[in-house]
């Protein structure tokens, strides 16, 4: 039982349905069959009693004249005639009022003048019944555990009885007749089963399949993101449909939540990094300025040997490189700048044209800015340049780079796409960290700087793979107050 209960709904629903259908059909068939059995019994009793009545009158006159041969002929002919019909007559006995045999269609088994009691327990029982039925016209007797049934008819006229006609029927006729009647019931049952079972199986599977898929996906939750459900799998608005909807909703919520968490973790990390970088930069900048001033002073002294001069120059270049790097790390977007003009954007296009020309790229440029907007022009240009340069580097030879700039819902939207190599999710996770580079020759600070600027301008930057095999960097910056 437990095995059955543990089965998949895919099998349980059709099996359970089939079980119920079979039970119902069997019950209905059984009632048909039981009815058929009763009907056969009733029909046989009626037929047998009819036979008795048809013989009664001629038997009466034959017995009245003590014409044994005629009595015998009447019952013999009747048994032959009846045996060819539905009623199977095994023997016909005519007994007198003392229950002695007057004639029988099987004289050897029931010789003349033998008492019925001597003819076996069954006929002995029948003899008792004959005594009891004196007043009755006819009666059909089914003895328990007997292979026969007996139809008794009183051979009487005007209440004068000469004896009793005992028609012995074999119950063997029951079975074929019963089968004949029952066969119809079974046939109907079989037809119903033949129609209902496949239908039930199909319907059960149809019903269970969405549940099964849903269960499989639910089991995957927490381990990995399950595949999307086929929207055509179940399109109805019943409880199952609602369950599907709820599942999809849940899945979406979970995904959003996780994405949000990832974003928070990432921005927290980047914020920490930025803080650290800024802190270090400040700490370095102070001594660095001193050292650079000292080097300058030292260079002004002419009595230094050439070796010293060479060393000073070396130190100066090193310190300058440190300064540049620190400056790059320390992004300061709070510096005042003029507002952004559409022309600033167009300038960027002009700036990057030589680079894109080298790779024979097609730049899909779409700038919908028409007016001056309240954002620092320098930083926006830097963001745009960084993104475009990355895109051009990543783009394939003779590939395509697209750039959309526009205003939407109080934000400046910058979107840069390229058709180059796609980034792995692992790479995307660390994309905006400093010194993170995926190309030869880059110092790995471009996107860091971009991120820091966007962040300091209160905007967001995101990257995602587009279905059309493009990497798409999107920047949204809320418009500031007009200067």
């Amino acid at each position: 039982m437990k095995f059955f209960l543990n089965l998949s709904y895919r099998y349980k629903i059709p099996l359970w349905g089939s079980f119920l259908i079979i039970i119902s059909v069997l019950t209905v068939s059984a009632s048909f069959i039981a009815n058929a059995y009763n009907q056969v019994e009733k029909d046989l009793a009626v037929d047998s009693e009819k036979l008795g009545h048809s013989l009664k009158s001629s038997l009466f006159s034959a017995m009245l004249q003590d014409d044994i041969w005629r009595t015998f002929e009447i019952i013999t002919e009747a048994s032959q005639r009846a045996s060819s019909s539905m009623v199977l007559v095994e023997n016909i006995l005519v007994v007198d009022n003392e229950q002695r045999v007057v004639a029988s269609t099987q004289p050897r088994e029931a010789p003349m003048l033998t008492e019925m009691n001597e003819l076996g327990p069954e006929l002995g029982e029948i003899a008792k019944q004959i005594v009891q039925m004196r007043d009755e016209k006819s009666e059909t007797i089914y003895l328990h555990n007997s292979k026969h049934y007996y139809s008794l008819t009183s051979i009487s006229r005007d209440n004068a009885s000469l004896g009793t006609l005992v028609i012995v029927h074999s119950k063997e006729v029951f079975l074929p007749l019963f089968i004949k009647n029952a066969r119809n019931g079974l046939l109907v049952g079989a037809i119903i089963l033949a129609i209902l079972l496949p239908f039930n199986w199909f319907w059960g599977q149809r019903m269970a399949l969405p549940l099964v898929q849903l269960a499989a996906r639910m089991a995957q939750l927490g381990k990995k993101w399950p595949e999307d459900l086929d929207p055509d799998l179940y399109e109805y608005r019943d409880e199952l449909g609602l369950l599907f909807e709820a599942y999809n909703q849940l899945l979406n919520d979970l995904k959003t939540k996780e994405a949000l968490e990832m974003q928070i973790v990432q921005s927290d990390r980047l914020a920490a990094l930025g803080q650290l970088a800024a802190g270090i930069a400040h700490e370095i900048n102070n001594p660095l300025s001193g050292m650079l001033t000292a080097i300058d002073t030292l260079k002004c002294h002419s009595d230094t040997s050439p070796l010293t001069q060479k060393t000073i120059a070396l130190i100066e270049r090193g310190l300058t490189q440190i300064k540049d790097t620190v400056a790059a790390l320390l992004v300061e977007a709070k510096i005042k700048s003029r507002d952004l003009l559409p022309q600033d954007i167009e300038d960027v296009l002009t700036l990057i044209s030589p680079m894109s020309g080298k790779k024979a790229l097609h730049i899909a440029w779409h700038n919908s800015l028409a007016d001056e907007i309240a954002l620092p022009a320098t930083f926006v240009r830097q963001i745009l340049i960084n993104l475009l340069m990355n895109a051009i580097k990543a783009a394939a030879q003779q590939g395509e780079v697209a750039c959309d700039i526009g205003l939407k819902e109080g934000h400046l939207h910058i979107s840069v796409r390229n058709d180059g190599k796609m980034l792995e999710p692992e790479q995307i996770a660390h994309l905006f960290e400093p010194f993170c580079t995926f190309s030869e020759g880059g110092h790995g600070l471009g996107l860091w700087v971009t991120y820091q600027i966007v962040n300091q301008l209160g905007g967001t930057i995101s990257v995602k793979k587009e279905a059309s095999e493009h990497m798409n960097f999107t920047v949204k910056i809320p418009l500031g107050d007009r200067l």
């Binding site: 014409d67 044994i68 041969w69 015998f72 004639a103 004289p107 050897r108 010789p111 003349m112 003048l113």
Partner: protein, 281 residues
């Protein structure tokens, strides 16, 4: 003129006798169940044969028992009847013997005492005390009188000897009654048993002949005494001539008799004595 007068005489005669000539009275022959032996188609052919030979309608009248036929004859509703020997003997005064059939060349039949073939022990009639016995008809010689006579001779009362007796009205049915075991034994015409054994040996094989009696006169065809002499002799001649006529021989063969012969009361003397002995006369 002479021709005309002759014609007138002829026409007058035709007018006078016309009615009688147009519808001659049929001759009626009574048949009992015992003599019919179920061969109704054959009897019909025989009737047509007789009708053609006699050039006169012939009717066969069927009754169950000899007694019924004798009653009809007394009422002049029958001209002839094929009847059992005792029935003839009882009515000798009112009837005349027409012909007696010849069986195996002789006008005799005998009684067979039969038992079921499963009964191997019965050796004579006297072994059958307290049994069920089948007779043919109370007027039958071989199927009633003969066994009763034997019992009388042995000093038994035929009415007490058997547990139960019954009549089948037909010799063949005695065979059936014994074969299926309705009766423990029966007595019947040997001629009928022999004839049945030719057509239905399967039935006669179920019986065993315990005893064959002496020969008695074969049941005759008799005529009522007051029958026209002309009809009597015409019928007698046609029947006797059957054995010399090809069509007649065919019918006789199927009836399993050799022909019909002039009869004599002497043939029935022994049976008459038997009847006296038993007390039926």
């Amino acid at each position: 003129m002479k021709i005309y007068s002759k014609l007138i005489v002829v026409c007058w005669m035709l007018l006078v006798t016309g009615a009688a000539l147009a519808e001659p009275q049929p001759l009626r022959l009574g048949i009992t169940s015992a003599t019919a032996r179920g061969q109704y188609a054959l009897l019909e052919e025989w009737r047509v044969y007789l009708q053609n030979k006699l050039d006169q309608p012939v009717e066969f009248i069927f009754r169950d028992s000899y007694l019924d036929n004798m009653d009809l004859m007394k009422q002049k509703k029958l001209d002839f009847t094929w009847i059992s020997s005792p029935a003839y003997i009882e009515n000798m005064q009112q009837t005349s013997l027409l012909v007696t059939p010849l069986y195996r060349g002789k006008p005799y039949d005998r009684a067979y005492l039969i038992v079921p073939s499963s009964d191997r022990s019965t050796g004579s009639l006297l072994n059958l005390k307290g049994k069920v016995f089948a007779y043919v008809d109370p007027d039958s010689g071989t199927g009633y009188l003969e066994p009763r006579y034997r019992l009388r001779l042995a000093g038994s009362d035929p009415d007490q000897f058997f547990k139960k007796t019954f009549f089948t009205r037909d010799h063949q049915k005695v065979v059936a009654a014994v074969a299926i075991g309705l009766a423990d034994a029966g007595s019947m015409s040997g001629f009928t048993w022999d004839t049945l054994s030719l057509s239905r040996p399967d039935i006669t094989d179920q019986t065993r002949i315990v005893a064959k009696s002496a020969e008695y006169g074969f049941p005759p065809i008799i005529a009522r005494n007051n029958l026209e002499k002309h009809d009597f002799s015409k019928m007698q001649r046609i029947l006797i001539d059957m054995k010399d006529d090809p069509d007649g021989v065919k019918l006789l063969t199927r009836l399993n008799i050799d022909g019909f012969a002039l009869s004599d009361k002497k043939l029935y003397r022994s049976m008459q004595l038997m009847m006296r002995r038993v007390g039926d006369l």
